[in-house]
């Protein structure tokens, strides 16, 4: 039960947050939620399966374009979002089947090439996608109780979505398949020797990740009313990778933190200077050099320190005996 307090507090915070924000803040936070879902999807393959992709925007873009293209014919939100997920997952399954044979830098390059190919297609197919002008989204977000268009409505849809994605991913990484995926990242040859089909598990992670990215893209199309080829560009994939590294690789709560920091800083800094990528770059480099594990890791270390201090305050007797034994061992090692 104690474990549930923290997530519950976060959920309550997310639900009452809009009261404290301006309408611009609400809109921005909704965007953070969408990015969080996207970053979570990339975090799954990067942090847990060890697959670093520089083309994950492909699945986000597929989701977004699915809503934009299908929305003209099928106005149902459920059908549209489901198609975005299924279509993105399907493409991930098919391409993953080929891509997962490679690893490391090769995997990075081939995913990059694939997403750039989709970008080029979206860019050149003016008749269908509107080319560089992009296309507007005809369908509106409607879960059966009227269209949701105000920033408050969008906020809650995105907030609930990110919580659902988080919980599902949390369940997934604790499941037999999820644990096996962590095993694959840790040691492929041992997993094979134990009888696990390493490729199947990588493909599973990649497909699920693609589906979630598709969902994020779909939400983005509803949020933005407009889809452009930029959603497929490697620039975007790179940004998401930066968010993961700032937030913390290999955790589930790191990616949303990274997304929040990135999106909010980007908005804040860019209101002062056009050179915001430069400042973001410095922050990124600092994290790579000095902050391995990202903000998630820093928070974890801080949390441990606080809880240790708490214990010391609560049980001074235990603390002093601990100190003695520490001194003793110190003496032994010195001797």
């Amino acid at each position: 039960m104690k474990k549930m307090i923290f997530p519950a507090a976060i959920a309550v915070l997310l639900l009452i947050l809009p009261v404290m924000l301006t309408s611009y803040g609400i809109k921005l936070t909704a965007e953070v939620f969408i990015m969080s879902i996207f970053v979570l999807s990339l975090g799954l393959i990067t942090g847990y399966a060890g697959l670093v992709s520089l083309g994950h925007a492909a699945f986000f873009g597929i989701g977004a374009y699915t809503i934009a293209l299908l929305g003209k014919f099928v106005p149902n939100t459920f059908v549209l979002l489901a198609s975005a997920i299924i279509f993105a997952a399907l493409i991930a399954l098919l391409t993953g089947f080929l891509f997962i044979r490679s690893s490391g830098a090769y995997f990075l390059m081939i995913t990059l090439a694939f997403s750039q190919m989709l970008y080029a297609v979206a860019y050149k197919l003016k008749g269908v996608t509107g080319g560089s002008d992009g296309m507007s989204v005809a369908a509106s977000l409607d879960f059966g109780f009227g269209p949701i268009s105000g920033s408050m409505g969008l906020y809650y849809v995105m907030a609930v979505s990110v919580m659902i994605c988080y919980v599902l991913l949390r369940m997934f990484i604790n499941s037999p398949a999820g644990k096996a995926i962590i095993g694959v990242k840790e040691n492929e040859s041992r997993m094979r020797a134990l009888g696990y089909s390493v490729r199947s598990y990588k493909l599973l992670a990649y497909t699920i990740s693609g589906g979630i990215a598709g969902y994020a893209g779909g939400l983005y199309a509803f949020y933005n009313y407009f889809v452009s080829p930029d959603t497929l560009n490697w620039n975007f994939s790179g940004q998401v990778l930066v968010m993961i590294i700032i937030g913390g690789v290999g955790t589930l709560f790191g990616p949303p933190i990274g997304a929040a920091v990135f999106v909010i800083l980007q908005n804040y800094i860019s209101s002062y200077t056009e050179r915001w990528p430069m400042i973001m770059g410095v922050i990124f480099v600092a994290f790579v050099l000095y902050g391995r594990g990202g903000i998630a890791n820093l928070l974890l270390l801080a949390w441990r320190k606080i809880s240790r201090r708490q214990k010391e305050i609560n049980s001074p007797a235990l603390n002093s005996s601990e100190k003695i034994s520490k001194d003793e061992t110190k003496g032994v090692t010195e001797a």
Binding site: N174, K179, G183, R190, R192, L194, G195, S197
Partner: protein, 253 residues
């Protein structure tokens, strides 16, 4: 019918022939040991049998079923399991998590997506039994990286046992162990149920003669001699060529 049968196996790396026409059999319940000097091709033979390396010629079969073309991971479901010469573990995971992965490997629920792994009681029970049997229960919450080398070696064997093999391939199980750990490990291997046949690469002659039902001598990638321990011990050529006479006599003493 022999449990594991290797016939005419050849393997070369870029023209360098490492294994030449190797044939050997492991009978049910047999403990078969492979010895031979460094570079004889022992580990390569293991890698070929387990499918880590593709073979150039020959066949490998388990209970009459040809497995030479199967991918390496599917051989585990045929009852084959192995350990590695160098520890090959999940170093950042705890000992318990290592065992969980190994035990789950042959479970039907290994692809389940949302139910927690820890909710499977049979997996928990099997893991607990293994950890206690291998004397690692106290260490279960430590990461494998934190264990001593000898303990890691035990985890290595324990993981291979966890997949419930009928034939277990051990690649130098006692290498790098202290004398005390070697004795302990040898005892644990001796205590393994006879339902698990063993194919073992080993250098330590005391270990070899305290486990072996049959010994195969590999030399320059070829089977030099195969026979009962006494035959190998008393074979003058083996003495001369491999041990310079010394090691075998020490083992006898």
């Amino acid at each position: 019918m022999s449990l594991l049968k290797v016939e005419g196996l050849s393997k070369s790396f870029k023209g360098l022939q490492v294994l030449k026409n190797v044939s050997l059999e492991v009978e049910p319940e047999e403990r078969h040991i492979i010895i031979g000097p460094n570079g004889a091709g022992k580990t390569t033979l293991f890698n070929c049998i387990t499918g880590v390396l593709p073979i150039n010629e020959g066949t490998v079969s388990i209970q009459g079923k040809m497995i030479a073309d199967l991918p390496s991971h599917t051989r585990v479901s045929e009852g084959m399991s192995r350990t590695f010469q160098k520890n090959n573990l999940f170093g950042k995971l705890t000992v318990e998590e290592n065992v969980h992965l190994a035990v789950t490997a042959r479970k039907s629920y290994r692809f389940k997506l949302f139910k927690s792994l820890l909710s499977y009681k049979d997996m928990q029970q099997e893991s607990q039994d293994l950890l206690k049997e291998w004397d690692l229960w106290e260490r279960r919450n430590q990461t494998v990286d934190e264990l001593s080398y000898g303990e890691q070696r035990l985890v290595e064997i324990m993981l291979a046992i966890a997949t419930k093999p009928t034939i277990l391939l051990l690649d130098e199980p006692t290498s790098g162990m202290s004398p005390a750990e070697t004795i302990q490990t040898t005892k644990l291997i001796q205590k393994l149920p006879r339902t698990i046949s063993l194919l073992v690469i080993e250098h330590d002659m005391e270990v070899v003669f305290s486990i072996a039902d049959r010994i195969t001598v590999l030399h320059h990638g070829e089977v030099f001699l195969s026979g009962k321990p006494e035959e190998i011990r008393n074979d003058q050529r083996v003495k001369d060529i491999y041990f310079g006479g010394g090691a075998l006599q020490r083992a006898e003493a």
